[in-house]
């Protein structure tokens, strides 16, 4: 479903992503781990077509993001890192706007918006203005827009960042549930999430993959039974 082939991104003299290759299949939840500045968000932005790679390609459901970005983007639901929203809109207005951009109309739009609101537990705040919402609700509103068109691929950049423990649990459960029928790539700093929600994980450092495997394999690889130890051993600590 997601096929990343030799993806590279150069910003001036800095190589943010260096010849990265991996795949995520349907029914798989891939945890994308790495220290700050390792190239996680840059990789996600290239896969979602926000900016082009310096070289390499990313295919979503067989469609190249470079050659056919419009079609590839229809297959992706994306939650950016800071969960950006139009604060002057209501939750319902924002989701309707996103559904219209996605080409949904009439009853299909209404159903999609209702389903997303239900899935992300936004029913109580649907008619509220976004600027009045707490961080948790804002995050879920942005997640809801990623689910509107029932995409085959979900790319979530730190979906649990800034949420309280209850909300984190809810989002993890949601990712796990959605992962049964979709291909999900999500980045996180919280290593427990890998065990809680991922079927596989990769650790990136300085734009390169330094570990790849199921949570059990990674824990075994650590030698101490701790993912944190593996993470600290494999990644550069001063980034």
């Amino acid at each position: 479903m997601i096929e990343v082939v030799s993806l590279t991104k150069q910003f001036g003299s800095k190589r943010a992503v260096d010849n990265l290759s991996f795949t995520v299949n349907k029914g798989e939840v891939l945890g994308f781990l790495g220290p700050n500045g390792a190239g996680k968000s840059t990789t996600m932005r290239m896969i979602t077509g926000f900016f082009p790679p310096t070289s390499g390609d990313a295919k979503v459901c067989g469609v190249s993001v470079i050659d056919n970005p419009r079609v590839a983007k229809t297959k992706i639901g994306y939650l950016p890192e800071s969960a950006p929203l139009y604060h002057d809109m209501t939750v319902l207005g924002f989701l309707k706007f996103c559904a219209s951009i996605r080409g949904l109309g009439g009853s299909a739009k209404k159903e999609a918006v209702e389903r997303a609101i239900e899935t992300c537990f936004l029913g109580t705040v649907a008619s509220q203005s976004i600027h009045t919402l707490s961080k948790g609700y804002r995050h879920r509103t942005c997640l809801a827009q990623a689910l509107l068109h029932d995409p085959e691929v979900l790319i979530l950049d730190e979906p649990t960042d800034g949420l309280d423990p209850n909300q984190k649990h809810e989002v993890r459960q949601l990712i796990k549930r959605l992962g049964q029928t979709k291909a999900i790539l999500f980045s996180t700093h919280i290593l427990e999430e890998v065990e809680a929600a991922c079927t596989r994980a990769v650790i990136v450092d300085n734009g390169k993959i330094v570990a790849d495997g199921t949570p059990a394999q990674l824990i075994e690889q650590s030698g101490t039974g701790s993912l944190t130890d593996l993470f600290r051993n494999l990644t550069t600590q001063d980034t």
Partner: protein, 243 residues
């Protein structure tokens, strides 16, 4: 279709907040105030509204037009929503068109709300309504030109205040460079060719002919090409920023 969705969102954003109302009210107060004070509307007896009413528009637009356009791309970049737009299946161009038309609609509404002055001159005298219509078109085109410049600047920066200041400076320059005093001073500093080049950016020449009821092809080409260049520039800057 996506342009229309963006247009609706932008327009509702203007009118769901005080921005559009404040700017429209200030525009109406300034345009009517200047017409009846410095414009000497009651004494001059100019039913074409050329000098009493339309004359003041470029002066008002050079300050207020950037206030409408400054948020167009600056705000998207500051809040990060540009990342949402950039990953939706829509072209940058359709977002540019939708946003630009929404800002232009705010000004169209502002201009339409000056209709009492048209009713007044028709009641008091026998004006050439065709010339007045041409004056309105001229005003709207000047305003749209300033909006296009503001949009171009807003693509360059995430700071709305910087966008406002830079856009106002450019628009003030375009209004001032139609004045003889300005041309004379400029002529002392630079070569005549450079003066010609600078003067070609002035709005008065093109605005004045429309204001007199003359539809000249060269004016329409000047306005439309200026706007198109700014919109294409916006598209190029947004694409370059993402590469």
């Amino acid at each position: 279709m996506t342009s229309l969705t963006i247009y609706r969102r932008e327009l509702s954003s203007y009118f769901s907040q005080p921005t559009a109302y404040a700017i429209i009210v200030v525009f109406l107060l300034l345009s009517m105030g200047l017409t009846f004070s410095f414009g000497n509307f009651m004494r001059v007896g100019d039913a074409s509204l050329e000098w009493t009413f339309f004359f003041w528009h470029p002066w008002i637009f050079m300050l207020l037009s950037p206030a409408v356009g400054m948020k167009l791309w600056s705000d998207e970049q500051r809040t990060g929503t540009i990342e949402l737009l950039g990953t939706f299946p829509l072209s940058t161009w359709s977002a540019i068109i939708g946003k630009y038309l929404a800002a232009a609609t705010v000004w169209l509404a502002a201009l339409l709300l000056t209709f009492p002055i048209m009713l007044t001159v028709n009641y008091l005298g026998d004006p050439d309504n065709g010339a007045i219509l041409a004056g309105y078109i001229g005003s709207f085109l000047v305003c749209c030109t300033f909006l296009a410049i503001t949009m171009l600047i807003s693509a360059c920066t995430r700071d709305q205040v910087v966008c406002l200041i830079v856009s106002v400076v450019i628009c003030v320059g375009m209004v001032l460079c139609g004045y003889d005093d300005f041309t004379r001073e400029l002529g002392k500093a630079v070569s005549p060719t450079a003066v010609e080049a600078v003067l070609s950016f002035g709005v008065w020449d093109h605005f004045r002919s429309l204001n007199q009821g003359l539809f000249r092809l060269q004016d329409l080409v000047w306005f439309s090409s200026f706007i198109m260049v700014c919109l294409l520039g916006t598209s190029a800057i947004l694409s370059a920023k993402r590469s």
